[in-house]
């Protein structure tokens, strides 16, 4: 297209090759400029996080005199401990962790089964089935609140973490099915043929061939599902009314109306609310990139 096509003859020409070698070692002013722009964008993006960090360790008087932009004059931990105790933070942390982990595992499982039938099995009408499943992702969540409220009431799951787990398993696996089905659609045929010649059943092929090979993509889905579920708000707010079942984001928001919450405590609550996903993300950052590469989001 726009790029001149490369001929073998041109590739072996000497002068350009030398130019390339020296260009690699030397960084031009333009390269530094681009790096500066990239770092500046990073800083702009990080500003709100730096603000949370700076204000979480300030005393209210420190905040009143210095405003939101100053650095704390002394480290002050009362905001954090006040929030920690007021909301019974370990309990909320456990709720969020439990819900997000169970959803991540179940949703990956369902995505894999769906994608096995759609991508490998190529069942009839699969494009329309993918679209039907994607409905879970397309629906605005408010649509679900009234009907599911009545349904979960009927079966006694209202105000139970399991209601939220079931809902998000369905919602997250919609994205997973969409992505995995197209990855499986391009699965190397030779491997499947070899396995079936060896006499493996479909179930065995799924677990012994497809599962191990697509594991990097599956772990990316696992991480996405965990973080997405952790950050969900409207459905946990509606279905987990009891104090003991609340998740971290719900607990933080519910406290916002509280008159006793000053700005620095709010900031401390934001810090505690974002730390778990941040740590989780930092641990799995590598898996994230390696996974998408190996599986290829096709």
């Amino acid at each position: 297209m726009a790029v001149p096509t490369l001929t073998a003859q041109e590739a072996v020409q000497e002068p350009p090759r030398q130019r390339r070698r020296s260009g690699r070692a030397r960084k031009t002013a333009g390269d530094w400029l681009i790096l500066a722009v990239a770092v500046l964008i990073g800083l702009l993006i990080a500003v709100p996080f730096l603000l949370i960090l700076a204000n979480s360790f300030k005393s209210p008087t420190d905040y009143a005199s210095g405003g939101p932009l100053s650095l704390p004059t002394a480290l002050y931990f009362d905001g954090i401990t006040a929030f920690w105790e007021r909301v019974d933070f370990p309990r909320k942390l456990w709720n969020s962790f439990f819900i997000s982990s169970v959803v991540a595992v179940l949703a990956v499982g369902i995505s894999m089964f769906n994608a096995f039938a759609l991508g490998i099995g190529r069942v009839r009408g699969r494009t329309w089935l993918v679209l039907l499943i994607l409905l879970a992702n397309m629906l605005p969540q408010e649509v679900l609140l009234y009907p599911l409220y009545f349904m979960f009431r009927q079966v006694g799951l209202y105000d139970s973490v399991w209601a939220v787990i079931i809902i998000f398993t369905v919602i997250q696996s919609a994205f997973g099915t969409y992505l995995l089905a197209s990855v499986y659609g391009t699965f190397p045929k030779e491997l499947l043929e070899a396995a079936s010649l060896d006499g493996a059943s479909r179930w065995q092929i799924l677990w012994r061939v497809i599962f191990p090979i697509s594991r990097p993509t599956l772990s990316v889905l696992l991480i996405f599902f965990f973080i997405w579920t952790w950050n969900e708000f409207l459905i946990p707010l509606t279905f987990l009314v009891g104090n003991d079942n609340q998740t971290v984001p719900v607990a933080i928001t519910v406290l916002q109306g509280d008159r006793l919450m000053d700005v620095t405590t709010t900031s401390a609550s934001a810090l505690l609310g974002l730390l778990p996903t941040l740590i989780f993300f930092l641990i799995f950052q590598r898996t994230l990139t390696r996974g998408i590469t190996a599986g290829a989001v096709k």
Partner: protein, 327 residues
């Protein structure tokens, strides 16, 4: 093992069409597609319960007047007629266009350029560590729970002693200070900037991962031929990661059309209706005005729009994939 299988491989391929004459074929030789339905059972039955039934329920509610307490009363098409003449509803869809610009167009385009920049220039000249550190920084807003983001943004944009106004005053631009979210003129643009901030990291991460499929020699070869950075970007980067561009655009478009959290937490659709979006309008009818029938009508209309957009997307994507397979 690889050699042994390769020699046998042709046998089933040539025999398969005869043995399973009319049924569609799976990728596993000798397995009919029909027999895979079993694997769809758990997913589809949960989907029916959690998604399809509530959706149909909502469609039914659109033909009723229902205030949440007494049973729904059938009123025919009244809600739909009202909807089409409702200026707030049309305003909310106009704001959806703004959300699509802020959550799909800008992040995808800028994300593509940033990903290529990080991968192609910074990664090669300054090392992969610098590139992946920057990528992680761009991704930060994505892992921040929306409600917490709203709290912090609320402070930055707050009219009295908010961080943004303080910075403006400090650099001598005090006359630019404003009530960012409270003024109808700046509320929507402010929300748009916030949504760009939230979304940008998602395409960058996906595109950078996709770029690792690109053979670096392709870039070097193009460079040798004198192609400049933009030409390499257009001809190599964009064409190779097209599948990911599809996934990112579709998922972001769905997210933009049903955006709710930030509006709920930051402006409540106001001031007036200047930042109202369909999902928030439906929510306020459902739970604040208790006009459940009308709320369901808005939500159903929104679902139809999202579904139509998604269907067009997926069909185009499938067609492209097929034409590529055929090649």
């Amino acid at each position: 093992m690889a050699i042994a299988t390769r020699s046998k491989e042709r046998v089933p391929r040539s025999r398969a069409p005869r043995s399973t004459s009319r049924a569609t074929h799976s990728l596993i030789p000798g397995s009919k597609s029909g027999s895979f339905w079993f694997y769809l059972l758990p997913g589809l039955s949960l989907l029916t319960l959690i998604i399809v039934v509530p959706l149909l329920w909502n469609v039914y509610l659109t033909f009723t007047s229902y205030r949440g307490i007494r049973p729904p009363e059938f009123i025919g098409l009244e809600n739909w007629v009202e909807l089409f003449g409702d200026t707030t509803f049309w305003t909310s869809f106009r704001n959806s266009v703004a959300m699509i610009i802020a959550m799909v167009v800008v992040p995808t385009v800028v994300g593509l350029v940033l990903a290529a920049m990080l991968f192609d220039l910074i990664g090669r000249k300054f090392g992969g560590r610098v590139a992946s550190f920057l990528r992680a920084t761009y991704y930060l807003p994505q892992i921040l729970p929306g409600v917490i983001a709203a709290i912090v943004i609320g402070w930055i944009l707050r009219p009295e002693n908010g961080a943004l106004n303080q910075v403006l005053a400090a650099v001598g631009l005090g006359n630019l200070q404003g009530n960012w979210l409270g003024d109808p003129a700046t509320a929507l643009p402010s929300i748009m900037v916030i949504m760009v901030w939230v979304q940008l990291g998602y395409p960058v991460v996906i595109f950078m991962a996709a770029l690792q499929r690109v053979d670096p020699e392709l870039y070097e070869a193009a460079e040798l031929d004198g192609a400049n950075w933009f030409q390499r970007f257009r001809a190599i980067t964009v064409s190779i990661i097209r599948p990911e561009i599809f996934v990112v655009t579709l998922t972001c478009a769905i997210a933009a059309l049903k955006v709710f959290g930030p509006i709920y937490a930051l402006t409540g659709g106001g001031p007036g209706t200047s930042t109202i979006v369909p999902a928030y309008y439906a929510y306020s009818e459902f739970f604040q005005s208790q006009q459940v029938g009308y709320g369901a009508t808005i939500a159903t209309a929104l679902t139809v729009v999202i579904a139509v957009v998604s269907i067009i997307f997926v069909l185009v994507q499938t067609r492209l994939e097929r034409s590529e397979e055929a090649r």
